[in-house]
Amino acid sequence: MKISGYRRDNGYFGLRNHLLILPVSVCATVCAERIAALAPGSVAVHNQHGCSQIGLDLDITRRTLIGFGLNNNVGAALVIGLGCEGVQVGEVAEAIAASGKPVASLIIQENGGTLKTIARGAELAAAMMQKLSAQVRRECGLENIILGLECGGSDPTSGLASNPAIGYASTKMVDSGGSSILSETTEVIGAEHLLSERFADPEERARFLRMVSDVEKRAISMGVDLREGQPTPGNKEGGISTIEEKSLGCMYKAGHSPFQGALEYSQPLPIEKPGLYFMDSPGQDIDSITGMVASGANVIIFSTGRGTPTGSPIAPVIKITGNDATYQKMPDNIDLNAGTIFSQGQKLEVLGEELFSLIIQVANGNLTKAECLGHHEFGIYRLTGAF
């Protein structure tokens, strides 16, 4: 099977051709958003971090921003910084430019402040948009698809209908040469014994189990019941009682493929070694999706029982619900109804095939509902706070 995409210098293809306006710190975020508003078709990310962070948090922010620029769905990037922040414009711009993509950068303190930066940024963005518009889609293979598997606003239908449908599509994608990422470490607690058996490499398996144990230890170190935050109030109202029940439903998204490895948050997926990967992230949807997209995911499949509007700045997000009532209630947001498994006795395989076809259509350029509505939520995972 073939799809079409935009060829990058690394030999792989993007499924979208975004101009990314990338603020390296929160201090540059407003300028970046205003530049994006002046350059229709470009997209800015709402970065809230990037300064006065240390250690792992600083590494994660830097790696996530660079990962966004490197994602094959990005055709060119304009990197904006204040000048004095912890994550520097130069290092981010250079890392993205090393991929061969057009990259420009601007520093607010050197450009005479907000208005001059926005004006110069808009000029640069317009020229970059025009160049990007000249690129055309070319035929390419499924090895260019990296699925990010997400579930949020879960209810019991997620584990019984929509997540198994995602698992079917993910397994088929991996069997067809593509890749897939399962994340949300919190939502592995209680299911890690089942998932860990599927890691062939003992080192990767140990790394995966350590990630799960670390997040549980961190929750325990706070001296409260994890159930204060996980499952969420909405999960519980929907009928999920414990984190174990949530996790056992979440894991169906990973289908049946073996795991190739366990990635750190926003660590690049080694696309030359395609397959199913785990990525360490919180269960919070936006942080999780942001990390997977920074790892290279270029289509997100998002299962939601309660309904959610979430999108991504640079990756199409396909919503699927297992709850018929939610599908009827939130038609703006949900792309596919797996609730028919209960309401009409629909077969799981039929829905899995339908989802796989939808992924192919979206890969070829069809917009998802989240894209049509301009949803581009962005959030970087933090372990501690700023200093």
């Binding site: 607690i189 170190s221 209960f342």
Partner: protein
């Protein structure tokens, strides 16, 4: 389609595929269960006795532990089962 879904033979709770009213009797894995309380759609109902402290199974896996004695037909949720994981509240320093 059946009114309840039992995922695994080992399960002692099943998922209601419609809202059950108190007193309503449904078939679950070859046995009749009468709802002791109203149970909202997609919430769980016990199919065997689960004594306080015993484990609760769905998907054939542990989803929690009973904090009260649970009878067949009882609505099972946060009021009568708790998580066995991430329990910082049970760590005494």
């Amino acid at each position: 389609m059946s009114a309840v879904l039992k995922v695994n033979d080992k399960d002692n709770v099943v998922t209601c595929l419609k809202t059950l009213m108190k007193g309503e009797t449904v078939e679950a894995g070859g046995q009749s269960i009468t709802a002791a309380q109203d149970v909202p759609i997609f919430h769980k109902i016990a199919v065997t006795e689960i004594k306080r402290g015993e484990l609760c199974y769905k998907y054939g896996q542990i989803i929690g532990r009973a904090i009260t004695d649970i009878q067949p037909g009882d609505y099972v949720h946060v009021h009568n089962i708790e998580s066995t994981r991430g329990r910082g509240d049970q760590v005494h320093s």
